[in-house]
Amino acid sequence: MKCIVPVIALFAMLAPGASAQTTDPATKELIEKLLSRIDSLEKRVAELEKGTVAATAAATPAPVKAAQPSAAQAVHMSHEAAPVPQAATPETAPPVYPVLKIEGFGDLDFSATNLHGTAGGFGAQTLLAPHSGFEEGQFTLHFSSALSPKVTVFGETTLTARSDAGTGTPPAPGFNAEVERIIVRYDLNDYFKLSFGRYHTPINYWNTAFHHGQWLQTTISRPEMTQFGGSFIPVHFVGTLVEGETPAGGLNLNYDFGLGNGRGQVLSRGGDFSDINNNRAWLTNLFIKPDALYGLQLGGSVYHDSLNPLNAPAAREWIQSGHIVWQKETPEFIAEFANVSHQPVSGGPTSNSQAFYVQTAYRLPWFQKLWKPYYRFELIHVPRSDAIFRSVVPDFHASTAGIRYDITTFAAFKFEYRHYVRRDGPGIFGFFGQTSFTF
């Protein structure tokens, strides 16, 4: 950049006014100085070229530009797409495995509600607490590691603040550590990928789109039907999945077929340590992303399991769900529906519980596009005849209105107001705040 100064000066002189021939001795002197400077620069360039040639002759690989990272230093995109040099291996050298990458997510929350007592059935992450205050959300670490070009391991662990995670009596606040996901996947090609592990059950959109990355989702919390710690759908699934994608004439059909342990005796928990019966859960999930409507995703799922809950009779569970999503931000639109059927094994009527939510948001075109207001309506209906759900899943409908402000590309503030109308309890309203980020 040192050469900018003489260049600018010369530009000024070459301009019409300056190029008029003048006999002004001062100008003449300046010109001579600049010409002399150019001569010295020319000499310097020649010397450098000479040096480069010599260096090139000495080095076997192709010359590398000094001012730019070399091809060998090409890097996978970091958060800022900043250069994070890899080992300076030759360009054609095979990659060294495993290649581990770690990303983190975190959030800190504030809640103030009119709740006096416990909010029965709502997941812990819904932030419905009887006292206002700050809450440490989740500290999430995500690992991805390529073991070979076709084999990859993914992991997600969380540290979650809880009121009863500490030891002693009475239970003290502390943190729960959890392996949320651990997946090893073998890719045959785009059409067939086989994996084993602990997943977020791929039977609805939100559960597999945002995982524990609060920063990724527009709102502060998940819809209750797919809430962590909630019981409406099985959030986790331990077993095996076959997945893939086929163009299907521009529809881009994606599929998941899964077989694994069903829910645990505590319905909100997966079968991490074997199944609780000899009937595996299975699932089928299909969705399309049509080329003609870039941004649209449309899909549905079926899930089946046999339940042996702690405080309810054994039952067969069927879940049918569907979703429609417009993945852009002007507007953003997510809607999901799920029906959960419970058929008591001992006989008796089948009960059906339903849940849905509709969420929309819009990234405003002003203020550097940093603001995104949003609204969500959600509903869960549990008939009193559903012995499995009636004591652990709340029957309610709720509205959430809020705004998200992206303070940087990788951190956001969110503020929202929620109002819950419950069938079996007084209404709840509250204000919530969150800062969430990735690192």
């Binding site: 070459l14 090409a74 290649v99 997510f105 995500h142 991805s144 070009p149 080329d291 992206d406």
Partner: protein
């Protein structure tokens, strides 16, 4: 006087050359088509625009069962990147970064695209890595690389979609 005038004429070309060195960005022609480049031995010559989008979105990850796609993307600030974000991804810079963070977090990809800092670097890596695909200004495609047709069109042809 004539000497000085002659010197100015002689030096004018040098000044232009120096300015081109000092301000390389300013010399990039606006509106030049962007070429999609791969190794000549890649068994693909033509992609529809939708297929190209799926490739760049990381939805299509294999050329063939034994050949994985390696996506090379210019660092922020390059016009080529701006064109690809606008025409293929239809995303802002922030949305693009968030997209790939989410993609990896969802276990849909082991990593995001590799970042390259110049067309020369992109070309060098594409030539060296089987399955690599990148994009460069059409008038800067180096010898030895294959330009993929988009919707049957090469850069410079009418209705070519990337410019």
């Amino acid at each position: 006087m004539n000497t000085i005038k002659g010197t100015f004429s002689r030096r004018a070309a040098l000044v232009m050359a120096l300015s081109a060195v000092c301000f390389p960005g300013s010399s990039a022609p606006q509106g030049t088509d962007i070429a999609i480049v791969v190794r000549p031995d890649l068994p693909v010559d033509n992609l529809s625009f939708a297929e190209l989008r799926r490739l760049f979105l990381g939805d299509r990850q294999y050329w063939t069962s034994n050949l994985r796609v390696t996506l090379l993307v210019r660092a922020p600030g390059a016009r080529e990147r701006d064109v690809v974000l606008k025409d293929i991804y239809q995303m802002s810079e922030a949305q693009f970064k968030q997209y790939w963070i989410a993609k990896v977090f969802r276990a849909e990809a082991a990593s995001g695209p590799r970042i390259v800092y110049s067309n020369e670097m992109a070309a060098e890596l594409v030539a060296a890595m089987p399955g690599a695909v990148s994009f460069v200004e059409a008038d800067q495609v180096p010898k030895g690389l294959k330009v993929i047709k988009i919707n049957g069109l090469l850069p410079g042809q009418k209705d070519y979609p990337l410019h």
